[in-house]
Amino acid sequence: MTHLPYLIPGWILLVGVYGIVTSRNLVHAVVCLSVAQSATYVLLLTVGYQKKATAPVFSDIKPTRNVVDPLVQAMTLTDIVVGATVTALLLALTVQVAKRRGTVDPDQLRSLEP
């Protein structure tokens, strides 16, 4: 029980990788990649959680109050926003692939020629 929450991000990562490998559509693969990436958010925040602690915002609580780890939250925050633009870039590349090859099935994309 004390360590089981850490296994959830492992499961999310594996499921995402499974989706990428078995994908028949590049859009599906990109979405699976973003699912695999979301495992990092869950892992960071579960590592930073502390029992009976509150959010690390001191505008309305005493400075002596226990708070959860703010460092991992700051990392997750930037991770989410940057990850979204990277997903946008990958989808833009997928649109470009569809335009040039007429298909988004990875199995039909054999060589790297334009």
Partner: protein
């Protein structure tokens, strides 16, 4: 009590992640992805991370599914033009 809530939401997150991956049609997947974004938001709130939850609501439930839908739409247009695409090359 709080622990039980966290474990329940964690299990729900794992379930939704699996659902997103197993939805093979990208258009349906965008909707499920939006639901996964909401579940992640709830998880971040119960893990006492309001800042992260805020950015997850915006990104995970609105922006990324919207981009996925638009990309699917754009790709579909290229698919319909597949034959003349080959003629020209």
């Amino acid at each position: 009590m709080n622990e039980v809530l966290i474990v329940a939401v964690l299990l729900l997150t794992a379930f939704m992640a699996t659902a997103v991956v197993l939805t093979r049609d990208p258009a349906r997947q965008a909707i499920v992805l939006s639901g996964y974004g909401i579940v992640l938001t709830v998880l971040f709130v119960v893990l006492q991370a309001p800042d992260v939850a805020m950015s997850q609501t915006g990104v995970g439930t609105v922006v990324v599914p919207l981009i996925v839908m638009l990309a699917i739409h754009a790709i579909r247009r290229h698919h319909t033009r597949e034959p003349d695409e080959k003629d020209r090359s």
